[in-house]
């Protein structure tokens, strides 16, 4: 399951529901209503508003619990017991990635920083989709933890505009199948 496809589906459904609501009301907007009908519409509208409030509350509370229960960003100020460590330094307009080969199946800790301006360290999977990312900021080292599941060549692109050489600021990481796996 590709996360981006799930997100796109949720967005289309959400925007589609909003559109349907508007289309329904626009189709009714040109019709007149007498006083009794107006009062009935007002009552129905209040009931629907409560349901909408409840539905939004359930969706947002559920999404908060589901997405934050396991916090998606690694602790930044405590040592991580991770054996695969990769140091990443961005500089206009290249990446130093040491080492540039890792293995699947166990987490990799990327320690990402910059020597000059802000860069975006994004790892693109072999299928062309972003696997994960973090900002590379001068004066700070951000720890990105990611576990690769598929071996292959992963492209690194800069995702924070950094000047004329922003597009060609690329590199790659080789991911090998876990030797013990």
């Amino acid at each position: 399951m590709i996360l981006q496809n799930v997100i796109w589906t949720i967005a289309l459904v959400g925007m589609g529901l909003v559109a349907l609501g508007f289309i329904h009301v626009i189709r009714q907007a040109g019709k007149p209503a007498d006083d009794a009908a107006t009062r009935k519409v007002a009552r129905t509208s209040n009931v629907l508003r409560r349901w909408l409030f409840g539905a939004l509350l359930v969706v947002f509370v559920g999404a908060t619990y589901g997405t934050l229960r396991h916090f998606p960003i690694a602790p930044q100020h405590t040592p991580l017991d991770i054996h695969q460590v990769v140091n990443v330094v961005g500089q206009q307009w290249s990446w130093q990635i040491t080492p540039d080969t890792v293995h699947t199946g166990s987490p990799v800790e990327f320690r990402v920083t910059s020597k000059d301006v802000n860069h975006g360290f994004a790892i693109y999977a072999p299928d062309g989709r972003i696997a994960t990312q973090v900002q590379a900021m001068p004066g700070f080292t951000n720890k990105l933890v990611y576990t690769f599941t598929q071996p292959g060549t992963y492209k690194v692109r800069c995702l924070e505009y950094c000047g004329l050489g922003h597009v060609p600021m690329t590199s790659q990481i080789t991911v090998l199948a876990a030797s013990g796996g």
Partner: protein
Amino acid sequence: MAALTMYPENERLEGGNRIVFNLYIISAVALFVLMMLLGLTMRMTQATWLAVPADLFYRILSMHGAGMVGTAALATTAVMWFFLRKYVQLHLWAFITNYVMFLLGALCIIFAIFIDGYGALWTFLYPLPVHGMGLWSPNSAALFMLGYLLLGVGMLVFYLDAAAAIIKVHGNLGRALGLQWLFGGTIDPDHPKTVVASTMVIIANVLGILAGAVVLVMSLVNIFYPEMALNALVAKTLIYWFGHMYINATIYMGVIAVYELLPRYSHKPSPISRPFLWSWASSTLFVIIVFPHHLLMDYAEPRWFAVMGQLVSYGAGFPVFLVTMYGALTNIYRSNMRWTMPSRLMILSLFGWAAGIVPAILDGTIRINLVMHNTQWVPGHFHFYLLLGVLPMALALMFHVIGHRADAPPNNAADRLGFPVYLIGGLIFVLAFLDAGHLSVARRMATHLPEWTATDKIGSIGAMLVVLGMLYFAIRITAGLLKAPARRDPDGGMANTAD
């Protein structure tokens, strides 16, 4: 009923008011067309239909960003001024000062970009402005920042004049927001929604502009005294605090047009209510503290900061969906509405705002931001609620005003053609961006991979339609504003031309 008079006497534009309002609007629509042409140029470059060198592309991107944000602020400030002056005593000199400062700031920005080569985008993210690597000089960055300061000072003058006027009538900003009625009491039915919205904008955007001023001055000091380095994280935090509030203020200024005008076109009053007051009170807080959702990939920020960004992004959806959008739909439901340009544009604006919030809220989720941050998903959602939300809000007022001037409802055959061209073009344009984000196409890149250009081409076609629609709107509005005002009714009111 006075509230439903289509063209109330106290909205009449005469003398200096008319000249300055026309200057604001004609400048804004002309700039919107020009900035859209720059946007189209970039999309066509990414689609490989145009060959624009990378250095020029990034200068165009810088101009498009700064120009669109500034122009949206200019247009929606005119919306706020147009309606707020009915309820409090605004000074025309403050409104003029904002316009003059806008022009001076815009000149600095245009000169910095097209003469001096500045290409560090509208976000001037420290320390990129001083790392042009030969493409631009620190002096050009300083000129760009000076332009921003001038824009900010102009807005502050307008806001402070408006704040003083509101306080004079309502005692303090809290009472103007209606906080005294949140938990009980009889709400004054004549308390203007425009005053509530304007107060919220003043509180939030004055804070935002001050944050911007602080980081601009810090950056200027760094340019001339490089040994005084800044903390990059603090600078970025301030920049996004400023940037987020500045552009969001345009939505909250623009929506005043909907609150004021929609009941006139639907012939149904929309009285002030407790949910409305709660909505604006909570939005005041949310818009001030929601900006961390721009910094979710900066792991050096504290964890609570990122969590707050996500939670407040979710919370901000409630007022929009449950009060503004739902209230407007309830208002027009079975209202015997007659569709003219202002009413079409108002409903489009609410749809653009509400639908555009869906991908925006998704992007405010940390887990999702990990794969969507700085992809074209981001311009996808903000163009959704700016192009199809904020701009139609301002256009609705403009068409309403020219309807008054022409003494006829703005609803001719060309209008009925121009509207769907803009709407369909806009939808194609924003959905192409969102689809590109779903395919992990990076934003802000002068050249794209061959596999990315399909969405660029579709987006370019959408952009062409949007430019065509906006060009028509700009000509129509400019011609309409320059016409003589409509005749005064013998009984003292103005002709109601929308029935």
